[in-house]
């Protein structure tokens, strides 16, 4: 299970970083999402991996193996915040696409990146 989880985190993070460095805004948005999945899994793993262990003990329960509830709470908070901010990022992305007419992160196509003297904003 440790191997699967760490591979999963690694693959998510690697794809996220690669996508984030791509020139198109939508790729960047996807990259940030994937990277945040990796980070959320990472937070979860920081509570150590347990199977079938309760996070909260009832009265008189015998302590054999307990799951740490704190990272789970942290993940929930991080998920909600990450979701909201990704949605906001998508809105700004669409606005940028609409206003600049290009989905390049610089707001203009690389072929026209050099502004012409007569046309400062290609």
């Amino acid at each position: 299970m440790e191997l699967v989880l760490s591979l999963g985190i690694g693959v998510f993070a690697a794809s996220g970083i690669w996508l984030m460095l791509r020139p198109r805004t939508f790729q960047v948005a996807l990259g940030i999402s994937l990277l945040s999945y990796a980070v959320n899994l990472f937070i979860f793993a920081m509570g150590r991996l347990t199977v079938g262990a309760p996070p909260v003990l009832g009265a008189g329960a015998e302590v054999v193996s307990v799951d740490d509830p704190v990272p789970q709470a942290l993940v929930l908070t991080a998920l909600v915040i990450g979701f909201a901010l990704t949605a906001l990022f998508l809105v700004v992305l669409l606005a940028a696409r609409g206003i600049t007419g290009s989905d390049h992160v610089d707001g203009r196509e690389p072929a026209q990146a050099e502004p012409q003297p007569g046309n400062p904003h290609p």
Partner: protein, 568 residues
Amino acid sequence: MGASPPRPNRSPGIRTHETLPQQEASLRDGPLPMTSSVLTATAETAWSDHLVVLPIVLPIAVAGVMLLLDERRRRLKSGLSLVTVLLLLGIALMLALRADAAAQVYRLGNWDAPYGIVLVADRLSAMMLVLASVLGLCALVFSFARWGRAGPRFHGLFLLLLMGVNGAFLTGDLFNLFVFFEVMLAASYGLVLHGSGETRIRAGLGYIAVNLVASLFFLVGVSLIYGTMGTLNMADLARRLAAPAAAEPALFEIGCAVLGIAFLIKCSAWPLGFWLPTTYAAASAPAAAILAILSKVGIYVVIRLSLLLFGSGLSAGFGQTWILAAGLATMAYGTIGILAARELTRAAGYAVMISSGTMLAVLGTGSAAALAGALYYLVGSTLAAGALFLLAEILQRGRAPGQAQQAVFADEYRDPFDDADAIEIGRTFPAAVALLGSGFLLCTLMLAGIPPLSGFVGKLAMFTGLATGPITAVAWWLIAALTLSSFGTLAPLVRLGIQNLWVPSVDPPPVLRTSEFLALSGLLAACLALALWGGPALAYADATVRWLAQPQDYVRAVLGAAQGGAGT
């Protein structure tokens, strides 16, 4: 199955929640046995004890009301936010007065410290709260003239931003800090985009992307710290680090380093801060002015955590060299940037960077006396940078937007006799231009650190702090960097001032509205007051640094006397 992490509720020696009422009772009955002011504060529960939570609760409550109000009820909204920010300023001042006597700890839900979240108002927090409120008040008043109408929900976002900033200054818990950071950032995304337009959206896109990644770094750092230390309470962390047998320092330090990257991105340290000048130059004036405090939130956290966690104990001095190097590089980059800046807003952005770099570098030297001067300098430079953003907007208002594309030295190759009109304009000097000119002069003096204003006093205090005792090579480097950055700030600001204020332009002189006048003179008066009452302000900064240099006092204040004693 992996080993379970050290859990706060299982580790020995921590007071559990159940023991607390007895302690409180003993405090109520007998004479106070402990030096801690915290327990006395909770024992009495006067109304004023809830002051600590008000800087967070008040703005978010009013921001909620703002959402219900229609956009057309502009007067009501403006009035509400004005009253709120005035109240915030009053609360911050009261907190500063009280924090000067003793640090106050507010336990949310009355849960005891390592389990519940605490808010701590000590001298540093209170000082930053006052700074944020003053800047917020002036930026808000400035927005009444024009910018409040430039887009929807300005006031709500503004108050949410203040709530996030105040929360970040007050919280004593790392994950809570993350939440307040996110509130602050989410509101700042809205404020950067306020007014819309291509420049803002393009700058905002980069700003949001950079800060989303910074937040991910924050999360990785926080979870690594939790995974190794088993707590996120700052005081508890400091206590566990001071204990001789803390586990896995290497992994913990990696976590702190990752966390540090997030804060260094926020305070725009080189090479993580290239987003700052573009974003701040693109943002509307009141937004840019209040954003000037945002980079100082990063500085605040770096100061707080390095002095609390790495002042002594297991990882003493961790990351100090890196902070020093990052600070020096930021100062150098900011100075080069401001020399190259051709717009006032960009210059102000680089001035914010220089101020951040100065703080980081001074913190990196580890000199307490110099840090006191730096804290004093931080307040002054933030106020001056905010005022410069406001001034820049007034001066650049109504000018052709393509002005920055002109040749760099266009004004130097002009026929000198073309400027004959200058004398006429000088004779009929409008009052607005007089205020703008003197305001610009004040900002320049403050940011460059030229006598007689507080920028100079701050720099002098840093110099004397660095020069006490045997002067190390690092101190010489820093003194050289501070001097060079002063000259580097002075030259471009003088050039931009001449360009904006002295060179006769075809445009009519800028019209200053009443609220803009009030906002600007408020910030300038605050700068002047900082110089006039330099003695008490420096004494406060000194006391702050002395308090920060004793992390066991902070631990004792938050966790109670027994825990703090164990930590020393």
